[in-house]
Symmetry: C2
């Protein structure tokens, strides 16, 4: 087995999966074909494709995608030669028979199985099965800024034991700083044999530097999207990570100008709004709250006439995670009551 230092850095382009969040999962056939061509030319190692929440997630509750999983994967597959095709699988959304097996039949090269950072055991069944089938499979720990380094090591070790080829720390709230990346990625690189990856978001304006910090700490997989295309404050931008890797003379398969071209193409075709940081996405990063809470928080703030940032800061203090969206309303009501008390006084 190669040591961490011997492994070449791999760039995972998740524009056509995580980016789908930014357009309510409405990426179309032409978008996928054009961008897959560009990602191949850019030299991305992996192109992740699908609904924002991964295989099997398209639904009225989470949002219906414009295309089925298989339509998206088939469209991308036809454009890729060197760049490998990847999918996200979150157990609960994705099931083996209905979603994973047909995806593999479509020619998917790699499956990334995700779970909350303290619930790695949820990934066991899928990782074990995929590994037995000879598929490249990676584990992803969501909202990983919330867990201590010790916990992350324990959870990542479980993913390694299940047979995954890598574990990827997801900065789902865009709440990491380079120092925290250095500590957590560095510890995992030290303690695990499999590859370590980092997936950054930009709520604090640090996604590029966090990605570079991950590489310097020994991560050999970095996730990016063209122009940071993604929900809320967006992802680490492919083109800026490419520029910084070039300046630092860190070798990858990326072709610098082709990577810049891919991002320009995305902007000129399917990127409706280049991600930026408004008050709410920044407060979400400060509070360390899941980016997906931004929209329901804005709605609750409007309804109860309170500051959305106060809601997010309180959600952060309570350590709320995805699935606990009801708490948003509770916190907003509480703030509204407090405010009206002050008005009386």
């Amino acid at each position: 087995m190669k040591t961490h230092a011997e492994r070449q850095l791999k760039i995972c382009d998740t524009t056509l999966r995580d980016g789908n969040h930014a357009v309510a999962h409405q990426l179309g056939h032409a978008d996928i074909v054009a961008y897959a061509k560009a990602a191949e030319l850019a030299g991305a190692d992996l192109l992740e494709v699908g609904h924002g929440n991964g295989l099997g997630a398209s639904s009225i509750q989470v949002g219906r995608a414009a295309l089925t999983d298989m339509e998206m994967l088939t469209a991308a597959r036809a454009q890729l030669k060197q760049t490998r095709l990847g999918v996200l699988s979150i157990p609960g959304f994705a099931t083996v028979e209905r979603d994973l097996k047909p995806a593999l039949d479509c020619g998917v090269d790699e499956v990334r199985v995700g779970a909350h950072c303290t619930e790695a055991d949820v990934t066991r069944q899928q990782i074990t099965m995929l590994r037995e089938m000879g598929v490249t499979v990676k584990g992803m720990l969501l909202m990983s800024h919330m867990a201590s380094t010790k916990t992350l090591i324990e959870q990542a070790r479980l993913i390694q034991e299940y047979g995954a080829h890598a574990v990827i720390l997801m900065d789902s709230a865009g709440a990491y700083t380079p120092a925290a990346v250095d500590e957590k990625v560095g510890a995992l690189v030290e303690e695990l044999d499999i590859e370590i990856g980092f997936h950054g978001h930009n709520n604090l304006g640090l996604s590029v530097m966090n990605s570079m910090a991950a590489v310097k700490a020994g991560a050999t997989i970095v996730d990016v999207t063209a122009r940071g295309f993604g929900a809320g404050a967006g992802n680490a931008p492919l083109e800026l990570v490419a520029a910084n890797l070039h300046l630092e003379q860190i070798e990858t398969k990326l072709q610098l100008f082709a990577a810049l071209d891919a991002a320009d193409l995305a902007e000129s075709t399917f990127v409706k709004r280049i991600p930026t940081n408004d008050s709410v996405t920044i407060a979400s990063g400060i509070a360390g709250v899941f980016s997906g809470f931004a929209s329901p928080t804005r709605r609750a703030a409007e309804r109860f006439q309170v500051d959305p940032r106060e809601i997010l800061m309180e959600l952060g203090r309570r350590g709320v995670v995805a699935g606990q969206e009801d708490t948003i309303i509770e916190v907003a009501m509480g703030l509204a009551q407090k405010n009206s008390l002050y008005e009386v006084i």
Copy 2:
């Protein structure tokens, strides 16, 4: 005299000066009044106001501002109490009698005198005179990534000798990395008695982290703009620097939510396009070429049918600086000739 460690960090908000570049110097009276109020509430230490190139720069060649220097300064002055009012003076554009004295009569609290990073002597006359008049005056070294640490120390010492209260390193090309900031700012903090500042641009997506690196290296002045409002890839965003200072518990006069409000206000009123990084602004950062070269480079690329990024990379190799815009055409022609040679072969 206070040591560097005893000085509180000061935030210079240059939204209404550097940001003016992004709207061809067309900020109007209502924009200035509204934003000055917001900057005061945000707790900015200094609000820099004026034409993008500073006092006296409004002209057909550089671009006519919507308002005169005095109209802009008077509008801002009326809104500021705690926040001090600043102007940029670049000798050549700004003269003492015509520009500086009337500006001081308008109630300007601070003048920042700028010159290319190897030409500090250009600032001598104005700094000396302003210091003798009892005005707070700071020196700015433009394109400072181009000079060695040794040269910057020599140039900054000149500015100190002239009597300036601080010297500010300008990352005019957005070409710094945090490691370079740490080295250069750290050396100036070590070698000089006056305050050191940093003014970051975002061509490489590092402006926030570079600003934080400057603070950690001992800088006590950091320049920002709301939403990064500025030419090309924009400046270090006020709201993201505020968020990171909050997270790192670094004390300033900034009020976090009010700083976020100021940026939201700017976006909803006068920011026409939130700065982002396209291919050309990134190549400009990689090459270390002045951001102002982006537009003429795009035009030359179009005219000679060559890749604008190749032009910028060559300009970077030649170490071209502002004032040498003719070289853009020369390089573009050279690339076009080279391309047509290859076509023949």
